[in-house]
Each structure stands twice: as structure tokens, then as C-alpha cells.
Amino acid sequence: MKSKWTATPYFIWMAIFIIVPLGMVVYYAFSDDGKFSLQAFLDITIYAPVFFKSLWLALIATVISLVISYPLAYMMSRANAVTQKTMVMLIMLPMWMNFLLRIYALVTLLQENGLVEKFFSLFGIEVSIINTSTAVVIGMVYNFIPYMLMPIYTVMTKIDNNLIEAAADLGSNTFNVFKKVVIPLSLPGVVSGITMVFVPAASTFLVAQYLDGSNKLIGDFIEKEFLRDYSTGSALSLVLMVVMFIFIGLTNRFGNDDMEGMVI
């Protein structure tokens, strides 16, 4: 029982910086000049298309991150210790830079006559990436991919090599080893990776503002609404939070069916 006390600092932190602000968001969402009102929720119906677009782009970014991260994580987890350390450091390296700076760098890379366009034009391919949804998805993947890679990698390093060898000894081909041993054992990492990419990607702001400035996403509009009027901004973020909550619930359930109690 005593060990409960060790969490006290965090509970105090959570109460002040998470619970109280959340309470304020709920208060503002349901009030208008101090009176109870649902006006803010009626006002935000115009955001429906932006809302779905944000979720859709975040989903694409999550899938791309997963497709890139999974094989890489597997490769890393089977490599020798020195390679593993170097790779982890290389992946974490961009995170040492400020988020905004990374976005600026991406703008310079993707913009007209930028490096990416010049590179493709060497092969006679004309691409124009800036100010498209592609640019936004690239920005999301670029920024959030470490959050996908790290949990999967961590889980995979814990998979005992003997299990893989045993499966192979008993006659499984490579495909079946992967399907029957590696994937089920790494699922908890995949689930936390998906949550950790999808949630920030769907609510991200600045990425779209800089990479597709005439088609901003919901995060940018929440910021805009907060500058204008707390009620509408709060209502908007409350709805987004509920959607996220349902999403996390669903993915966690999916993970729990196969692996009990190992998720986040």
C-alpha cells in the first residue's frame, strides 16, 4: 500500500496542470458570458469538413509511419548492440531540434525550387509538393515517426530470439514465423505507437499552417478560435478530445484481445 505515496508528486502535478485546465475547457465550452449555453457547439458545426479532413490526414500519416517503422524496428531489434545504439541516437537526433525549426526546414526543402523539387527534376520528374495535403502528411510523418518507432522497437527487443529459432526449428517458414510469433508479440508496441502518432497528428497545429497555409487543419482553427473567443475554441477542442478518447479506447481494446494488459 505504501508504494501509492510515491505517485503523489505526479498526482499534484496532474491536478494543477491537467485536471484544472480541462475543467476550464469544459466550463468555457458550456458557457457564454458566464451563463450556461450550448451556442458554442452549434457554432462549430461549420467545422465538420475540416474535422474529418484532419482525422483522415492523421490516419494516413499514422499508416505511413507504421509501414515505415515496423520493418525498421524489427531490423534494429535484431542488430548488434552498437548498431542499435547508433540507430536510436540517429532517430532521436532531429528531436533535439525545436519543432518549429524542423517545420521551417521542411518548408525550405519542399517549397518551389527547393531541394526536393530540384532533386526530382534531375530525373525529369516534375513535382510540386508545397501547399498540398501531401506536404502536410509528409510533415506529420516527419515529426511523429519516432513516436511510432520507439515503442515498437522497445517491445521487439524483448522478444526472445529463442522463440523465433524454435518456431523455425519446428518447421515454420519465415513468413509464418513473422505472422505467428513476431507480430503477435509486438502488437502492444504497435498499439501504443498508433495512439502516440494519431493523437498528436490529428490535433497538430503549425504543420498545416506552414505547409498548406490555405487549407488549415482543426488544430490551427482551435488556436484561431481561442484568440477570438474562448467558448468556441473550448467546444472545438472538447469535441476533438472526445473523438480521440473513443479512438484510444478502440485501439486499446484491439490490443487487449491478443495481449492482456501490456498496453501503454
Partner: protein
Amino acid sequence: MKKKLCILLCLLLSLPWCLTSCKKYESEINVYNWGEYISDGSEDTYDVIREFELKYNIKVNYTEYDSNEYMYNVLKNNTGSAYDILVPSEYMVAKLIEEDMVQKINFENIPNYKYIDEKYKNLPFDPNNEYSIPYFAGTLGIVYNKTMVDEEVDSWEILWDEKYKEKIFMIDNSRDAFAVALTVLGYDPNNCTKEQIDEAMELLKKQRPLVYTYGMDQVFNCMEQDQCALGVYYAGDAVTMMENNENLDFVVPKEGSNMFVDSIVIPKNAENKEGAEKFINFLLDPEVSAANAEYVCYTSCNEASYELIDEEIIEDDIIYPDEEVYERCFYFSNMEKELYDYLQKAWIKVQI
């Protein structure tokens, strides 16, 4: 031995901190200003705040904002320490006066007010000049790239020309963006109806496919790196862009444009009015004002400082335009709250 050395080093390192922070100031003032809006001592410029602190022994707590609306929200919901000085733009000054959020300034404590250029006194947003003191002014106009635009730029209508598809930078500020659209339609941006706002909204929606991005400080990257041909932005910043890209030029369209006047005010709940007035008077000193004018590159409202400002800046037609440009321009006045909300919502609808 090593330990002693370490302690000694620590003490030495904390010495400068002690020298600055242990100094006792008589009082403090809280200043809330636009970003990059005061000469801050960087690159050998005059450090206004430091000089003021030394001269009057008053500590200045300086914070910055980047939009009038944001500043207003902070002021409205502020529960912490009060601000003593704000620098809102003209329409926000009018709004603050109307909502009784600012107080009358005691001009006897500000003898340097006499240096303010007559043309910035008694403007419609504060007709008797009781609450506000003009700090910097400037126009909204079109920055354009001479290599990408062949024709003469003299009208807002060029912003709807299909030729410049995805080559137009549009300012992301509801009042300014609608001022452009309303002016094109021939309406008065200060005195418009909801129907006129709707019409302007449709016009802005029509422009959206041509717009490269809606933004504020992204304009520097867009224009300096030849990403956009045309950009709607402020004169002072246009000059900064032109320093970095010689192909750029700036024009105030013939239909007229907004002239903004960012003015110093003292909020009602200020805790150190006396200190605030000392600070305002210090800002209006011709030499301090000239230093700020050289740093900020907007139009200084301080006539006495004109002689002291670097020639290159004072003779720049964009920062200090001819009388004729002034005649074309209008000042924003406060809009009715309902109409203003309507306009802000319309601006969001344009971008959704």
C-alpha cells in the same frame, strides 16, 4: 583543493546574476507590446528598456504579443498582475475606450507629447486624444516581385487575377483582409452592413484558390525567397523584405488602404500609473524615439525625431510616404461588437 576551487567558481559565476538581480528598484511597470517593437540593444542598437531602468530606477517587465485580439483576450481574462502599458492598434484603442478598459492619461506628466506630429493627434478613434498616444503608424499595401509581375501594380484588383494563381500571399487578419475586399467592392470598411460583409466574404472565397497561404510572419519567407508574386502586408515589414530581396517593391493601391496607428494606452487596472507615464515620456524623447524608429522601421509619429533618424530611413517613401498617400488612406474605427464578431466569423468561413 578541487572542491574549494569548484565552490569558488560557482560563486564567481553567480556574481553577475547577483549584481543585476540584487539591485533594488524603486518600483516596477509591466509593459505589453508588439513583438520586435522596441529597440532592444541587439546588434549595437540603443537598449531602450535598460536605459530607462538606469535613469529612473524603475524595473520594466516586458512581454510581447502578436495580435490585437490576443492582447484583448489576455487583458479581458487576466487574473494575474496588471499591465501598466499596452500598445494596441487604433480600432482596438477605440474598443478599449468604449469598454472602459483604459484610463485617461495625465498629459502634464508627459511634456514630450509636444513632439508628436500634428497629423497623428485627435484621430477618430480617440477624438480628443485623452486616452492614447501614437507610437508607430504604417500602411497596408501590396508587396510585389518585379520579376514575376510585368504590369504596373496600383490596384487591389490584381489580387483576383488568375495569372497569379497560388502566387498570392494574403494577410491572415480579419480586419485587414476584409478592408481589402470591402474597398474593392466600394464599401466603407468602417461603416458596413452584414450584407456587405457577406458580399466581401464571397469575394474572398473566390480568391482562395489563388492564395498561396494565409499567414502573418510567413510573409518574409514567401516574398524574400520568390515563392509569391504578390503579398498583402504592412509597409514597415515590406522595407525589411526589400532589404533582403532587391526585386521587391511596395505600393499602396489607388483605391486607398488602411493606415494603422499603434498607440500607447494605460489600462484601467494599472498598478503603477506614475511609472507608466514616466516610461511613455521616455519613449517620446526624440533621441529614444529615433532609436526605436531605426530599429522598428515603421512610421514614427514623433516629429522631433525625424531630424535624428538615419537619412536612408527617413527619406524612404514607403516608410514616410507623401501627403497624397495619406489622403487616400483611412483609419479603422471601432466596429459594433456584433458586427465585428460577424466579420471574424466570416473570415473563418473563408478559410474553412
